[in-house]
Each structure stands twice: as C-alpha cells, then as structure tokens.
Symmetry: C2
Subunit: 799 residues, 2 copies
C-alpha cells in the first residue's frame, strides 16, 4: 500500500540519537546476507546452513531520501517487519546457576516468594487505583474550573452580545492546555503518545517496546492525559490509565527504579522477563479495572491480549490486583464524593447503573440490536480507514515535534470552535427539571428555565456526555441534535486519535455510538405506534455505544464484561455480546481493528494466536533463519567480542555447540546462551585463565545477572584488552543446557504453537542428529500472515 518515507516511530528517539543499534540489538539470524558474507569467520566462529533473510536494500528501489544521505530513513512500506524490536523471553534460562539457586531454596522459600508476589500485586493494585483516582479528580476539578469560567463568560456575552470573544476565550483555553500536554509528549517522551494500549498489547505479546514501562513515560502519560481531557479534545482517559497500571507494575515488581537510581534491594528474584511480564499483565488488568470499575473485565483484557499459558494462581493474582485497584479507587472517590467508605455507591459505577426494571429488553429487539451491531462495525471500519490514511499522512508530513504540537493545538482550537458553532446554531431547548443532572447547563438563547441541549453533549467532559446519553430521560435530546453531534464528533475523534497527546479512544467511541444509538432509539419510538415501554432511548444508546466501540477496537470477551461491569447490569450481557460479535465480523470484513492498524504501521513483529490456517506447507526448514552464529562450549573471548560488536547483525541468542568438525559442518547442540548473559560474563571477566590465576575470585552468581537486568550495557562500553581477547570463556555453567528444539521437518503451525504457547524467544532447529541447522525467532514466525490473497510474507527491515 502506501510507501512511507519517514516514520514517526514508537521508538523514533532512539533512531535520532543514533544509538539505536546499541540499545536495541537485533534478533539472531536477521543479518542481511551481504554483511554476513563480509564477516570473516575468525577463530571458531562459524555459520551453518543456507541464507534466507531478505536483503532489503538490494530488493527495493532507492528513494530520494537515501540519495540525500539520510541512510537511517530507509523507504519502506506497510508489508514490512521491523527488526529493531527485541523480544521478551518468557522462557527461563535454566542454567546451572539458576538450577542451583532453585535447588537451594526450601519449600518455605518458595512460599515466601509466593507471598511476595501477592504483596506486589496488592501494591500494583493500590498504586494503579491511586493514579487513576488522581487523574479522575484532577480532570474533574480542572475541567470544572475551565467550564465554569467559559460558562460565565458566555452568559455575560449572551446578554451584551459579542459571543465571538467567548469563542476565542474557549479556543485559547483549550489550545493552551493541549499545548502543554502535547509539548511534554512530543519533546520529552514520544512513546507516551496515544492510548498506550497498542504498546501494552505488544509488550504482553512478547515484544519489548523501548521505554514503554519507564517512570518518565508514566509521568508524561499522566500529565498528558489530564491536559488532553481538560483541553476539551475528543479523548478519553481510560487507555492511559491502563498504560499507567502497566508501568507501575513494571516498577513495583522490580523493587527499584533505574531512572531514579534507587534500588530497594527487594524483589530481586523477580528481575527477569518471565516474572516481569506476569506483573505487567496484572498492572494492565488493574488499569482496566480502575478505568472502568471492571475487575473481571480487567483480568479478561490481560488474558485476551497477553496470556499464552494460562495459570490459575497467576490469574487469581491478577484478579487480586484488579480488585484492589477498583477498591482503592472507589474508596478514595467515595471520600471525594463525601460518602466515605460507601463502596457500593452506585455513583462509583462508571457509566451509571442501568436498572433492569426500566430498561428491560425483549426477544424481538434482538434483531434490532444485531442490525445496530452491523452498523457499528461499518462505522468503526470507516473510522479506522480514515484514521489509517491520517496516520500515513502524519508519518509523511507531521513528524517533527514542533509540528506535532502545532497540530494538537489546531485540533484543540477546531474542537472548541466546532462545538461552539454547533451550540450557537442549535435551537434545541429543553426545560431544566428540578432534578436535572447537567453539570454546566448553558442557557444561551433559550428561554429562562431552559437549557441548550447541544451543550450537554459538547460542553462537558466526554465521559459525562456518555452518561447523559445513557441515562437522561426520553425527550432530552431532539434527533437533529444527536445526528449533528454524531457527525461532527466522529470526525473530531478520528482526527484526534494519533495526535502527539496522551489520550484514549474508548470514551470518544462510546460517545459517538451512544449518540447514534440514542438516535435509533428515538426513531424506533416514533415509528412504533403506541408509546410502548420498550424503545427507551438510553437502552439503545448503550447498544450503539457497544457497537461503535466494538467496531473500532474489535475486542470481544473482555469488552463485553467491561461494558457489563461499567453499567452494573448483568442482564445486558447477551445483547452486548451479540452486538460486539456482529460489529467485529462486519468490521473485520473491511479493515482491521484500530490498535492492530497502529501496531502494523509500526512494523512490530506481533504474533497472533495461531499460525495462518493455510501455512501447513511451510516447515521449520523454510521458516528458520540461517546461518546461525554458534559458539563453542569453551570459546575465545576475542571471537565473542567480535560477534557481539558486529552492529550489522546484533544477534541476541547463540546456540552453544560441541565443535566436532570443520567450519561448514553443522555441530551438535549443547546449549543456548543469550547476548545479555555474555555481556555480564565479559563485564565480570569470567575467563578460564583468570579463574586459574586468581583462585579467590568471587564466583559469578545469578544476582550479577539480575543487577544488570533489564538494561544490559552495550558491548561497546566493555573494555577488553588485547591480552584478554586471547583468553577463553567457559560457557557451560551459564548457558541454558536444554533449549527447546524442533526437527527441520516440523510444520509451521507446530513450530508456531510451541513458540507461542511457551513464549519463547529462540527456538533451535536441529537435524536428525541434534546438530544445529537454524534458529527460529519471533520475526521468522510473524512475517507469515494471511492477507487478502492468501498467505503473504512480510519483508524484514532494519528500521
């Protein structure tokens, strides 16, 4: 599809600093063939097998960019898989050190670890709830302040004329606040842009997105989302809350902050990918739980996005974190709402409780719901297509931070202007009842005791607008208002998603859907002869909201449960589920889900649940990367340093072999060692010769590896003298002696299943005598995907 010249990448910063190669070493086997041929096979380093990697620069036509001497900006298109993303390793490296530690540990030790895990999950829940509460209250207070000032201004000028001054005030307010939020995102931490859900999806899938779980990201995210919501953009705060939960989890579970340079010397056992990913799942669940008051939905979200192997205790812990997060949030909110301790207060249910009595549905309404689901799926696909084009446009032309800030300000000003215009020209006046729950009723040109109905939708935070659409009594909105609102908000929301601000898409989607859903309800009620009870507009608003959200994000089980929990009514489960299902089926016919589009545009090697259905004719032999750079069990330091320093390959895992014959012959596998382990070994100079001379030298322990985790130093920072290069390193103790292997004839689905189910990073392909012939990594599997015309193969690129 569209060729993109410059990419606004999730990790664009690393590109710009030029240190990308150091910080994000590539996967093994990914080296372009040309480079590997140049590499002199010095010492006992050897390559096995045949070449299969795509050589990007040879196959693609050079672009003007590369002519202008910007080699980093390789032209590439959508059908590309980036090699810059590292994978997480969900498989423990069971080397001797690890096994010794595990064997030393008593049963009580394991019990203590288990208890620590629960404590950590509790803390994750607590802090996530706290942050969510902070965001909630900050948005509430600041938005309240803003709307109060603007409202007074409008009221003043309604009387004396010159409402354009109010408009300017409103627009400037919005633009200024959004500018603040956009500046911190664009200049300080670009990864904090957007909702964060695609990034968390990738992380849980096993892709390491640089800086996604850092403290700085959290700060920018929280600050940014408050600014965007208060700035009146068509955004929600839910996505960022989920991302915040994940960051908190990554921080708390490690017992230290690398950014703050503080190490609390606790939870050291959990300093590895396996454990960390579990906690990040819990954090994401806690985030969902806090965002929607949906603890079960949170657990299901984590599972849907992340789980490969389901474990009962883990799930139970995730649920605990979720529960704790909702609990914390509700507790503090109940204090804020002056009802301290009243945890079953219905005001704590996000979208307001739907009472079954007034909102009953009947069998014959189900076809209507399904039709609405189809409409939602179609509209969602439209939204996604528009947003896709917009994102392509942004990647091409709006990639400088200052441009991004200006775009965000523009959107903010336009949002204010459009809203104002809509309110100004609206003639939909509604009486202000005694028990009205409008926060900021705008009278404008309405009669006394009445208010402008359009303003309840526009002159409000989006979350409150959703509530109004769900729960305001029939007759509160007239159809024209709703129609116009839907139309404008649809385009505003679509334009907003992807700006360099921290903001989610859940609430805007719900709002669009609620508006047209309510419109459907009103139309149905007017069609049906009698004033029948069934066409309650609020009910249709809910269905519409579900349909639109489902059509955009394409989540399934978790979204059903989130909607049920956020509305506090379980009997709506069935219609919501049917609607989401229809929306997904219809939507998928046209275009992927929004998050998937953005993940694809970043060329992330994302692994789906199963291998493509028609991939049985592929075997490990075709899929694997080769030649594989292997090491001997006892290897020369110089060779290791050379291999690790080779920036053009940047392999991350190396099979360790018994060196039987000469260079080109495959050798027997006896283990697997990771780049990170080798780096630590080099740093501590664990050389055979030194061990002999310095007998008192402290033996390397697992702790040394954990202390270095997760930011292992680049190889360039480790000084190895010419003498040391001649030393030997014994890898036996540190390699994983039992890596998972598959024979060459294994079919792709089988390889995929093993890889995905166990969350592997490297899978060694062996021949019938256990000799290494290839290595399968994430990108080898991710590049096969099912396109419109059957199985397609994505190309690999260094960008």
């Amino acid at each position: 599809m569209a060729n993109i010249t410059k990419k606004v990448s999730w990790s664009s910063r690393a590109d710009e600093s030029g240190a990308a190669a150091e910080r994000t070493p590539l996967l093994n086997g990914s080296e372009p063939a040309r480079v590997s041929r140049q590499l002199s096979a010095g010492g006992s380093l050897f390559h096995i097998g045949r070449l299969s990697t795509v050589d990007l620069e040879e196959e693609m036509t050079p672009d003007e960019d590369s002519l202008r001497g910007r080699p980093k900006e390789i032209p590439h298109n959508e059908k590309l898989l980036s090699l810059k993303y590292e994978s997480l390793d969900y498989d423990n490296s069971e080397n001797q050190l690890f096994l010794e530690e595990e064997r030393r540990m008593s049963y009580m030790g394991f019990r203590c670890l288990e208890i620590s895990r629960w404590v950590i999950c509790g803390l994750i829940g607590f802090f996530t709830g706290l942050i969510a509460c902070f965001i909630d209250i900050a948005v509430e207070e600041l938005a309240g302040l803003k709307y109060q000032v603007v409202k007074e201004n409008i009221e003043k000028f309604t009387e004396v004329g010159g409402l354009s001054i109010s408009l300017i005030l409103w627009a400037v307010f919005n633009a200024a606040i959004v500018m603040l939020g956009s500046i911190i995102v664009a200049f300080w931490e670009p990864i904090a842009a957007g909702s964060g859900i695609p990034q968390i999806k990738c992380y849980l899938n096993g892709v390491k997105i640089p800086r996604v779980v850092r403290l700085k990201t959290l700060l920018v995210k929280v600050g940014g989302v408050i600014c965007s919501v208060v700035g009146g953009l068509a955004v929600g705060k839910e996505g960022p809350m989920i991302h915040s939960g994940a960051v908190i989890a990554a921080g708390v579970s490690q017992g230290r902050s690398t950014s703050l340079k503080r190490d609390f010397k606790i939870f050291e056992y959990f300093r590895r990918d396996t454990e960390k990913r579990d906690f990040v799942s819990a954090g994401a669940a806690a985030g969902v739980s806090a965002a929607f008051g949906a603890p079960v939905g949170g657990v299901l979200f984590s599972l849907e996005e992340g789980a490969s192997f389901w474990n009962q205790m883990l799930t139970w812990r995730i649920f605990f974190a979720s529960m704790f997060s909702t609990f914390t949030l509700n507790f503090f909110l109940s204090i804020y709402h002056n009802k301290p301790g009243d945890l079953s207060n219905p005001g704590l249910i996000n979208f307001g409780r739907f009472e079954s009595d007034s909102m009953a549905y009947n069998l014959y309404e189900i076809p209507l719901f399904i039709a609405m689901g189809a409409l939602g799926g179609f509209l969602g696909a439209c939204f996604n297509v528009l947003n896709y084009w917009l994102t392509i446009f942004r990647i091409r032309y709006v990639h400088r931070p200052c441009l991004q800030v200006m775009e965000a300000m523009l959107v903010a000003a336009v949002t204010a202007t459009v809203s104002f215009t809509m309110i100004y020209f609206s003639t939909d006046c509604q009486p202000l009842g005694p028990d009205h729950n409008e926060e900021y009723p705008l009278q404008l040109f309405c009669a006394d005791g009445e208010y402008n109905s359009m303003a309840t939708a526009f002159f409000n935070t989006p979350e409150r607008s959703v509530r109004s659409l769900f729960h305001n009594p029939p007759g509160t909105y007239n159809p024209l208002t709703l129609g116009l609102f839907t139309l404008t908000y649809f385009f505003l929301a679509c334009w907003t998603y992807g700006l360099a601000v921290s903001a989610g898409v859940f609430i805007p989607s719900l709002l669009i859907g609620a508006a047209w859903g309510r419109l459907c309800g009103i139309l149905l009620a007017s069609i049906s002869a009698s004033d029948s009870i069934w066409a309650v507009p609020g009910k249709y608003a809910l269905i519409g909201a579900a349909a639109q959200l489902g059509g955009i994000v394409r989540m399934t089980l978790s979204l059903t449960v989130i909607m049920v929990e956020a509305t506090g009514n379980v009997t709506y489960g069935l219609p919501i589920m049917l609607v989401l299902m229809t929306a997904k089926i219809v939507g998928d016919y046209f275009e992927e889900g929004l998050y998937d589009i953005h993940i694809k545009l970043q060329s992330v090697p994302f692994l789906h649940w199963e291998a493509p259905a028609t991939s049985h004719w592929l075997t490990a032999r075709e899929v694997m990367s080769s030649p594989v750079t292997c090491f001997n069990r006892i290897e020369k330091v110089g060779t290791i340093v050379d291999v690790l320093s080779n920036t053009s390959t940047n392999h991350n895992g190396f099979p360790v072999v018994v060196h039987v014959s000469d260079n080109d012959e495959p050798a027997k596998l006896c283990g697997l060692i990771l780049r990170s382990q080798l780096i630590v070994l080099l740093k501590h100079k664990v050389f055979v010769e030194l061990a002999r001379s310095r007998l008192t030298q402290r033996k390397l322990q697992l702790k040394d590896f954990r202390d270095a985790y997760p930011r292992f130093p680049p190889i360039q920072s480790i000084h190895v003298s010419q003498d040391e290069r001649e030393c030997m390193m014994d890898l036996t103790e540190f390699m994983n002696p039992t890596p998972y292997t598959v024979p060459m004839e294994t079919s792709l689905p089988r390889v995929f299943k093993l890889f995905r189910a166990l969350g592997l990073r490297h899978l060694v392909v062996v021949d019938d005598s256990n000799r290494v012939v290839g290595l399968v990594t994430r990108k080898d599997l991710a590049r096969y995907h099912l396109g419109k015309h059957g199985l397609e193969e994505l190309q690999l690129a260094q960008t």
Copy 2:
C-alpha cells in the same frame, strides 16, 4: 493414610466385566519390571535404558484380599496413581496424511471449518440450555406436586392428630423417588453418580474417564438428578447440569452417536481429541452458564479447570456457547413464567437480584467479611474431612449396587424425618404477609395467618431456601431456627454427597453458608446499638454462602464471577472475592477441596498447573519411563501384534526409530506412532507386501482413522493370520515425524511446562544424538506432588 481394600471406582464396571485391560490400555512405559523381563524380545522389538517403574506387588505387603484369591482387587492406598486411565492427546499427530489434508484445504475450507465450530457451539449452548430448562421445570413441577400432597396431608392431620402418618407419607415419598434415581445410577451407569464436576475436571485436564461423555450417562444423569432433588435430598442440580453440558458437547461435536449407532456424516473433521476437548470445554461452560445464569462465570470455569493454552477465538466461541445456553434457558423459562420473551426479567436471576440501595456495604464491614471467610474455610474443611472419612467407609463397605441404593433410600428417609422433627418442634412462627413469597407455607401449630419459619428452610427445594435466606426481610427467621437448621443440614449434606445418586454440592453448600451467614447478620444487628441499616441479614447470608461454598470446593475466580452473576450485582465482587480467598487459604491449611479429594481417592493422574516448587533437582532422566518399546520405520506385523497384544504392558505410544545397531543400543528417533493408529493400520491390513500385490487397493485415508475414533477396537478383535504376521508394515506415512522431545538433563519443571502447556500425551526423552532413551507420560509427572513433608512420590498401580 487409610488402606482401602475394595474401591468403588469411577470405572468399576469395566473392572467387573473383566474387559478393563482391553478398553483402557495403559500408558507406555508403565509395565511392571517383572513383566517386561518375561517378555521375549522377539524380532526387532527392543528395550532401551534402565528400569524405573515401581513394582507394586513386590513392594507392598500382601493383603488378606489377595490371599482370598481376588487378584483384581489389589490392596492400595491413597498415595497411589492408577494406571488404568488413558490420557487425551491435545497434540495433533502431524503425519503425512494429516499434512496432506491440511495442505489440500483452501482458505475457504478453513473458513467453513471455523463456521462449523461456531454452529456447533451454538448447538451445544442450545441443547444444554434446553436440558437445564427441562431439569428446572421437571423439578419444579414434581417437587410442587409432592409438597402439595404432603402439605395437604399435614394440614389434615394437624387438625385431627396423628402427624406421624404424615411423617411416614413424606419419608416414603422421598425414599421411593430417591430409590428410583439411585437404581438407575447404581445399576445402569455408576459414572453418573455425584456431581460430575470432578470427572469433568479430569477430562478437561486431559484424563479420559471411561464413559463420562456418553449418551447413556447423560440420560441417567438427568433422570437421576430430578429424582434426587424431588426426593428431598440435600443436593443441588447444578453439578449435573455442568456434566450434561459436557456430554452434549461431546456428542454434538462428533456428528454421530456411537450408542445410537447413528452417523450423520457431519463434523468429521472434529473427530479427534484436540477438537473434542475444546468442545467439551464449551459444553462445561454452557452447563455452568445454564445452571447459574452466569455466562462469564462459565467461561472462567472452563478456563480454570481445563485450559492449558489460551486461545482468543476458542474462548470467544466458548463464551458464545455459554451465552446461547443462558439465552435458551431464559427464553423457555420466560415462557414457563408466562412472560414470554422478557429476557431481562429479574426472576431469571438465579438467587434473586441484590439491589445495591438496600444492601450497601461499607468499608468497616470488610474485616467482618474476612472473618466470615475464615469461618467458611474452616467449616468447609470440616465438611471435606467428614466426607473423606465417609467416602473411605463407603469404599470399604458400601460397594455393592443394592447396598448403595439402600443407603440412598436411608438418607432420603432420614432427611425427611429430621426435617419433619425440626419443623414439628420449632416454635418459630412468623406472620404471613400479604406479599409473602413462600411457596408452601406450613401453618402447623402456628396461629392463623402465621406460618412455621423452620418449614421455609426445610419444606422446600434447597434452591428456593437459599433464595429465601438471601431475600426475606429481616426478622423472618429467628436465630435458634437458623442455628439448628445449619447444624442438621451440614451433616445431612455431608452424608448425601457421595451417595450413588446424581447430585451436586453447590446448592447445599450455599444453603448451609446462607443459614449461618444470616445468623451472623442477625447477631451483628443485635449487637450494634441502633437499628443501623448495615446489618441487613440477607447481605450476610450471601457472604456466608460464598464463604461456605468456597471453603468446600475451593474455586476462585470463576466462583466469584458466578456468584456475582447469579445475584445480579457487580458491586459485591470485592467482598465475595475477599471471602473466597480467605476461605481458600484457611481451608487449604487443613484439607484439600472436595473435588480434589474425590479425584485423589480415584488415583487419577491429575496434572496441576505447575510442577511442585521444590522439584528442580529432578530431571527428565529420573522422571522418564524406560525401557521404551520402539518400532522400526518398517516393522514386522508379527512384532507389532505381539506388542499390542501384551496385556501386561498395554502401551499407547511408540517411538519409531531408525534401527542402527543391535538390541541394547539406543536408536535414533524418527517419529512417534500411537496404538490407535497401529490398530487401524492392522485392521485395514496396510502391509507392504499386500500393497505390491494389490495395486488397486484403496489408499488409507485420515477418514479411516476418524471413523474408528474414539472407540478403537481392541487388538484381540483383529485377526492376523500366520502369513500376515510375516509381512512388513511401513509406518513412515502414519507416524508423527516431529514429536516433541527433551534432552535427558531437562529439569522436571521444564518438562512439566512443555507437557502441560501443549497438552501432550507422550514426550520422548532423547540423548545428545537424538537417540531415544525414555518416554515421559502423564503419570510420570503426576506422581510427584507436594505433600506435608516436601516432595512426595506416588506409587503406580494397575487398579
């Protein structure tokens, strides 16, 4: 612990018929050493490695039973793992036939398959809902009839005296109905006894329990549960509904009924363990969903009990089945309740809706809830210990069907007598309000316009009693009534569980808990000075019910969600979760969960989520079974027939090797073939020689294997002539050429993880040259478990 002489086994019938060995072939490598030594290594059959199997009869002291000449009844104790259970194979045998079929299939073909899966799930949901509805209505009508008759009788005799006649009438009624239910279970299909949840747990875990998903089992289960509930036993109908769902799923998904000898020639693709297990998960979920009106809870139940590898589409389909089941049930019930089509009718919520306004809870109540959880855990453990002893007693002395029927009748009569006595001596009279919802208010000795309060608890189906305890206004029960009721019902329920009747334990547990929970609520209200709003007894009844149920069954996440959905109130999620967690922690301190106890008493090789924590010092070398019976790629028919016919070994999977050297040398692995595949090959006489002579012979297809699934004929039924014995069989095309393997040094947790995550049945252990040295099967992993004194090893036995 206790030595058991005779075991009332889940598959006792097979034992009695003497055909056990044929029908339930054992796992490979499980042969007692003594036997394998006797086996003459004829032809190219050879054994590799060293012996590790426990020889039961040599190590254990002979019991008087074996002296009396009953060799089938080997003495064994609880620390035993039965070898009679086959495993399910969740790993496809990717042989050439399979790959050819998959490669032939177009993308549209896969789409059609996917659509069929959805259709099947819809059907599963529909039929499960229908069956649940049938059970519901049958119980309602029949119990109504019974209580009406007894009530009229009691009223008659209250006036004229001679209530003992009423008692006898009641007791005889109960005993007669229960006798009916017990006879069909004990004589016709013993596997239908109990709740069925332990059996379904085992099935989903990957253990094939004989006859558990047959049509006959379903019929007996449904008939049995109606009889038991109508017969007034302290049982629920929820467990059997779950079992029914699983049976329906197994039947529908295969498109045929072996019992009815009907093959509809549809869904043939799904005739293998992998697919069938997925559908059974969906069926179990649909069952839970129908039983409690909890579709999300159903999905979580299936996942908690069964899932190993979580797959989004699968989960989504399971959810669809669940939803459809609730929907069907609700639709038909709404017709039954004369409100056709009103699907959000609160009357459809199982335990009645808890309205948040009247039942709010507050922060300071949470410690109270936790204390109740601890009490529930303790009481649950007591229940389990008592039931454990009772089960041991039953296994020893009550193993004849007629004895079982008599015991069931006795329990029925005693239940009626105790109930009657309690009601008779109760002086707790309550005024019969105008809006009372007592179905059968008994006046007895109360004044006119009043009714006996004890009777609302006893003279009712247990499910209705739970509802009354949850929702009757404060003051309906006096504390003494509740205390006495708790005490008697506790023992009655404990005695009842394990009878040879089809009955669940959910509702009795809830009832016990609701009774003492409500008692707590009343006591709390009386302690607190003012008539404060918070101590609503119904709320405490709910918490107590959750605590007691959690203490008995020890389910976690799924139970929380089930309770939330069954009460229709999401705000109770947090307290219920805390209570269930406390109950589980406290309960686990004393004794395992009820289902786990019963699974253990059956010596089922049940795999938990993870290997025992302290098992890192074990490696595949210690764990694996050896010697392994291997076949050559081209093998003599006689050898194969001999190996398969050897009833003392009954291996199920055979590594296929390249025969390099002489007998005792390990040979290179080149595939894995299953007993079932060999049987089909023998049946169709796929011999090399015949293929040459009869060129026109039809090539064996995957269909032939599917037609034989799942009841492959025993080897004895296949006639192989002496000439044919000399023929050769080429296994290349039929074996799985890429079985999963692990090196000998792999640690047990790593082996366990691979085995469990992929749902394997056989895992080949190889040396560093890919030569077969052992085989790991389910029982090799299941026998290591964490006891009170660290890691324990269970012994293997043929029973």
